[in-house]
Amino acid sequence: MTEMPLLSLTIFLPLLGALVILLIKEDENSVNNIKKVALWTSIGVFLLSLLIWLQFDNNNGSYQFEEKFRWFNDFNFSYHIGIDGISLFMVILSTFLTPLCILASWESIKKRVKEYMIAFLFLETVMIGMFSSIDILLFYIFFEAVLIPMYLIIGIWGGARRIYASFKFFLYTLLGSVLMLIAIVAIYRLTDSMSIETLQGNYFTKNIQIYLWLAFFASFAVKIPMWPFHTWLPDAHVEAPTAGSVILAGVLLKMGGYGFIRFSLGMLPEASYYFSPLIMTLSIVAVVYTSLVALAQTDIKKLIAYSSVAHMGLVTIGIFLVNSQGLEGAMIQMISHGVVSGALFLCVGVIYDRMHTRDINFYGGLVNRMPIYATVFMIFMLGSVGLPGTSGFVGEFLVIVGAFQYSSIVVIGAATGIVLSAVYMLFLYKRIIFGVMTNEKLTEILDLDNREKIILIPLAIAVIFIGIFPNIFIEPMRLPIESIISNYESANAK
């Protein structure tokens, strides 16, 4: 291990930035410095993660950039990190969204800028760390530590009902994840191993797998969130500041999907097979039901929040199909949703900053005053709908293709959800952007300024780039996904 510990550097650079900010005394002159430190740190982290991507070897199915240190002397826990094709893009998604979030908070966060930036950088460290942990206990620590900055971000900088939302978010997700702790300790006791890598396989009897699976399910189903465990999400999204919503939708929800792939499929294949009808049912309900709920919303953020639940329903369908199309589709859908929903929340933030309301009926005819905004919003809206050529299409298409091998009922359910998503997104777009501007207050509204363009245009490029070159993203994850599938099939062939 003479090379640079690139991955550790990526994980802990944000924390270093936070430390620097901690030392700056906050006053009127230094607020800008604080913001700049945060921004440049996160950009640096993004560049580091791109460097990792450049050096990433697509033909190596196992973990790369591995680092391992003994951590506890009495137990076999270690600081063991590394990334493979599955976690690579989750890491890049986190590092990509964080600078944009910091930029998006540039003007809208006015109080306690210092604490805000520290919380965001801490959050970034935790997110990257979680996706690159190989040791399960390390994974768990990062998984739970996410709650702290997010709780503060919602609770301090959130909207009117922020306290309720922050408590609900914290306790709901904590309730899920503590059960995982028991499962983790039990796994350690049964196998004496804590490495996600070596535990990939079928080491437990079916009975034990079922219990462990349920414990993991509790945490991931809340996190992703699956219907009927999704009720914290609309509250958290609506009350969080824009950047908080972006990270919540863009990255935190993906922790659930990532966990399902790594733990449920990878370690507990028999139980996954046993429970896959349950997942399919819940997911189809989620896709159809939350789409209908989204249709009825009058709050833009709430609508997008419910659409997130629906899109994540497609992800869980894709994951538990356990074929290569399904899993690749789920992964692409997660990446795409991270970018698209993050961008949609940023778009909401743009008009919210100007008008301070998220009521759909307040708006209308924005295209007359904000042509650039209308264009950018359209790209994301179409990405969410899944128009061919955008990122959303690839994921949805692959999941549907995969679902044909499983059951036609699942296909019908998933397709209904996709159609409904087109309905509510186009309907939303029509109400906000098109039509005649009837509200007098809107006549003075300004189009995107330069800062907002810098935020939204990279996201728009990403949406189209993923849509046109999905193979760049699928290629690195092919081998790890294949090994999960073959493991799953050999476990259930008995």
Partner: protein, 478 residues
């Protein structure tokens, strides 16, 4: 002979007894500022005894052969007890002076009570055990009501005394039953007399349960916890700090030793009792704390909850359980000292902060203190990456190892409920806008500042090198 005498002086308990009497004399005969002098004296004595325990000069010295045990476990808990007592004296000194209860009897009584605790931790005989418990309790009854002109303080002292006396009675009755059915008062004797027996006679079970009830009073496990919130709230905060930090250690050590040494073979009998105590403490601690408005009361319920977690480790009745409990108690000590060192120095408009609601807006005026308090609260809730998480982790490891899955699941569920009230304190500091123009005043002596900084570093960065503690604990056995 002379050599033996020198040895005796270096037995920690003996020297603590001598120092306690010396402290009393020193306070009594010093003309002015007697509180200050005797507190410093007591602190130094405790630190000296800590050193004595650490170097352990009396290992090969047979003193009262079967009355006291000296093992790594007792040594660990004794060091925690004496250092905890010393630190609690340091952090509460200015509070004593400020609230005009600067009587030199306080440090003296606390020394005697600490002596009782040391004897409790290592007692190996029912008689000694009882005497030790009484020594520590009687001293504590007095200090609980030391603020004579305050009704709350007097009430808390009386409540503590009556309930404590009741529990001592129950304990003593249990002892007599145990003695009646085994014919022994020493732990070894009891254990030997039970070697041949496969089922405990019903009378002995009764005795065992009575003793456990008495001990449950001392550790304040539900349903024998009623005195804790009242005493915590009524006593002066500096005394509450001592209550929260030190006596729990001794009582926990004693309950572990009593269960595992004489009755280790019959763990099936007593684990049922402890199982219930543990679940009840965790849930009552978590649920009852939700409604509290007073910070001290809340911490009382929080400590009841923590006792529930330690008892999980006892139910596991294993070596790992013993280690986990040691780790948990160390972490409990660290977190409680940290939280009390903040509460003891935090004033709002010249009144010490006791209500949760009066914490609102603390984060604006004192960002460092509120961040520290927030970290301690998250740590108490067991949220990683802070130290409290590792305590819980080790307890759950012990539970899973003994296949107590139900207990572990209930434990984590209770921890989610308890997270609510810890978060409420953070909410008060960070989310609520200050409702008035009162200002916070945080004055802390430089010694307490050093202690608080060290503890905060430990709480926050323990994750980087957990082996620091686990290596020490890994060699612990009864």
């Amino acid at each position: 002979m002379l050599n033996n005498l020198m040895h005796i002086l270096f037995v920690p308990e003996v020297s603590l007894a001598i120092l306690a009497i010396a402290c009393l004399m020193y306070g009594l005969f010093s003309k002015n500022n007697s509180f200050n002098k005797s507190t410093n004296f007591a602190t130094l004595s405790l630190l000296f005894v800590t050193v004595l325990i650490f170097f352990d000069f009396s290992t090969n010295f047979a003193l009262f052969d079967s009355f006291f045990s000296n093992t790594k476990f007792t040594k660990f808990f004794k060091i925690l007890t004496t250092s905890g007592a010393a630190i609690s004296l340091i952090i509460s000194k200015s509070y004593f002076i400020d609230s005009k209860i600067n009587k030199f009897e306080i440090p003296t009584l606390l020394l005697f009570s600490t002596l009782g605790m040391l004897l409790m931790i290592s007692s190996k005989n029912l008689m000694i055990m009882y005497l030790a418990i009484e020594l520590q309790s009687l001293s504590l009854y007095v200090v609980a009501s030391i603020k004579r002109n305050s009704i709350e303080s007097a009430e808390s002292g009386v409540k503590y005394f009556i309930l404590g006396a009741l529990s001592s009675g129950i304990l003593l009755y249990g002892f007599s039953l145990v003695y009646g059915f085994t014919g022994h008062t020493s732990f070894e004797g009891i254990a030997n007399s039970l070697v041949e027996i496969d089922n405990l006679p019903i009378g002995l079970i009764f005795g065992l349960v009575f003793v456990l009830v008495g001990l449950a009073f001392k550790v304040s496990a539900v349903p024998f916890h009623m005195w804790t919130p009242d005493v915590y709230e009524g006593a002066p905060t500096s005394i509450t700090a001592f209550f929260a930090i030190v006596p729990k250690l001794a009582a926990i050590a004693l309950i572990f030793r009593f269960c595992l040494e004489p009755f280790g073979k019959f763990y099936f009998e007593w684990t049922q009792v402890i199982f219930f105590l543990s679940i009840a403490s965790m849930f009552l601690g978590a649920i009852a704390a939700i409604a509290q408005k007073n910070l001290k009361r809340l911490l009382a319920y929080s400590s009841i909850g923590h006792v529930g977690y330690v008892l999980i480790a006892l139910v596991s009745a294993s070596d790992q359980g013993l280690k986990s409990a040691s780790i948990y108690m160390f972490i409990y000590l660290v977190m409680n000292i940290a939280v009390f060192s903040i509460i003891l120095s935090l004033k709002k408009s010249d009144v010490y902060v006791e209500q949760i609601s009066s914490l609102s807006g603390l984060s604006k005026s004192n960002p460092v203190i509120s961040a520290s308090l927030a970290i301690i609260m998250l740590s108490m809730a067991g949220i990683p990456p802070f130290i409290g998480f590792f305590g819980k982790l080790y307890v759950f490891i012990a539970a899973i190892e003994s296949q107590l899955y139900i207990l572990a699941v209930l434990g984590v569920l209770a921890s989610v409920i308890s997270a609510f009230y810890y978060l409420r304190i953070i909410k008060g500091m960070y989310f609520d806008e200050p409702d008035d123009n009162q200002t916070f005043d945080f004055t802390i002596s430089s010694e307490s500042k050093v202690i608080l900084s060290i503890l905060m570093i430990l709480i926050t960065f323990f994750i980087l090198y957990p082996s620091l503690l686990t290596d020490i604990v890994s060699s612990i056995s009864l």
